[in-house]
Amino acid sequence: MHTLDMSTVEVRSVNDTLQAENSTSNKAFLLENPLGAHAIAVGLDAPVHVTVNGSTGYYCAGMNQKATIQVNGNVGPGVAENMMSGTVLVDGDASQYAGATAHGGLLVIKGNASSRCGISLKGANIVVQGDVGHMSAFMAQAGTLVVLGDAGEALGDSIYEAQLYVRGTVKSLGADCIKKDMRPEHVTKLRNLLSQAQIDANPADFTRYGSARKLYNFDIDNAGAY
């Protein structure tokens, strides 16, 4: 385990060290005293394992590829933003737009995520053990958002083809987002995802939501409006 103390080493230098690892590296790094700094462990491109001991600021683990990043604390806005692959685990709460525009990989948040979780999601899987705030999965195109707690207002507003599974209550659904049946393939998919996230829950307790496909489809009857 390679330890970097962020009370003495600059963020830029920490990121330089982490980004220098090549695609065969499986080194483990421990980052101590993150002190809420921004952009910790961003742009990684190797299957390294990074543990951040404490809370972070904006954009932790942004643009991640291949790496596993575990945060033992809360994360600020935009955790795992635009993640391509790999895994990001947050022990505490996440601030707004967690996993925004993420294309791939898995983001697990053990606490709550606030507003706009998974906004414009493009293929990643997000599992939130607590609640998510308003406008979560706004314009989400692909991927999955699983919420074990409750969802705030306007869940899945203007959603495309992302899939949403919520175990608790949904305060309100956004435009063109509707409740859908849980077919056997959805139960299987959710069971796999919960297992990957190492969360013990029964897929049968969840409700699936997704696009009614009325808003984003071109409709010949509306041709005059274009």
Binding site: L35, G36, S55, T56, G57, N74, G76, Q96, S114, G133
Partner: protein, 291 residues
């Protein structure tokens, strides 16, 4: 952007350290706003005494001229000065203050003092010696100007009522209309700044009999725009975010204090922060603590 901080001390043993904690918190938020900075401090209130914080770009001349007109001494701090008088002499003192056209009254109250200037937080903190001050609670702001010019009077905190102050991250879009309406109600507003209108609105609501909590609730309907507010009163400290809540906010609470920061970074040096309850305030929800 803008950065805001607040610290409400529940444990009086920490009162001597209010200035150093609040200064550290504000300094950490410097890169959220380089234009101006300010701090409002609340220290032991005395019911019979009124405190005025005044500011002038030509302060010494004004102080020299006023010295002959009032028996009360001015304690000068850079471009600001604090003068105290018994409640019954407040009108006389106010007349003297108003006789000097360059004098701006930053705050009036039993407890509040406000220090604010153009420049970075560290500069403002040093100029006014804010690390050395004690008190029960305080709020601070570092500004990235959007709605009005970068001037001393455009800096936060804004005080529009006795012992009241407001700091704001965001921008109000209906402030011109609301300013006109408030002026029609005989509310005094001194600047073109949107936040001052927000502060004056809360003061006006409280003059109508609302509690601070009720005034903040009402602002959810009457203020349009983006805001995270931190407000101070003689005994209390409140937080409100607009329903969209894109302006960041973090609260932390221990047995000794409640602390607010635009970011968690602002809180990392507070005593016992590792064991504090840390959370993000919910949108459109009023949070309030009182001594």
């Amino acid at each position: 952007m803008c950065g805001i901080v607040g610290l409400f001390l529940k444990n009086s043993e920490l009162h001597p350290h209010l200035g150093v904690h609040l200064s550290d918190m504000l300094s950490t938020m410097s890169d959220r706003g380089p234009d101006s900075a300010g701090i409002a401090l609340y220290s032991d209130a005395s019911p019979d005494i009124l405190k005025f914080t005044v500011q002038s770009s030509h302060l010494q001349g004004a102080l020299d001229r006023m010295a002959g007109k009032t028996p009360f001494a001015f304690e000068r701090k850079d471009t600001h000065a604090v003068v105290q008088c018994p409640q019954e002499d407040a009108d006389d003192l106010l007349t003297v203050l108003r006789s000097e056209p360059s004098i701006r009254i930053m705050s009036v109250g039993q407890s509040i003092e406000i220090y604010k200037e153009v420049g970075l937080p560290d500069t403002v903190i040093d100029r006014f010696g804010l690390r050395d001050v004690s008190g029960s609670h305080g709020v601070g702001h570092t500004r990235m100007a959007t709605e009005s010019a970068v001037t001393t009077l455009g800096a936060h905190p804004f005080s529009t009522g006795s012992d009241q102050c407001l700091v704001h991250n965001g921008s109000l879009s209906n402030h011109n209309n609301l300013r006109r309406e408030l002026i029609r109600q005989n509310v005094t507003i001194n600047t073109d700044n949107d936040t001052e209108v927000g502060a004056a609105y809360l003061t006006w609501k409280m003059q109508q009999g609302a509690t601070l909590g009720e005034a903040l609730e009402a602002s959810l309907n009457d203020l349009d725009g983006f805001y995270t507010f931190v407000v101070g009163t003689k005994n209390g400290f409140g937080v409100l975010r607009d329903p969209i809540a894109c302006k960041p906010a973090v609260l932390a609470e221990t047995d000794d204090y409640v602390a607010f920061g635009s970011e968690y970074r602002a809180l990392v040096n507070l005593p016992g922060i590792a064991a504090a309850k840390v959370w993000e305030p919910e949108p459109a929800t009023v949070y309030f603590w009182e001594h």
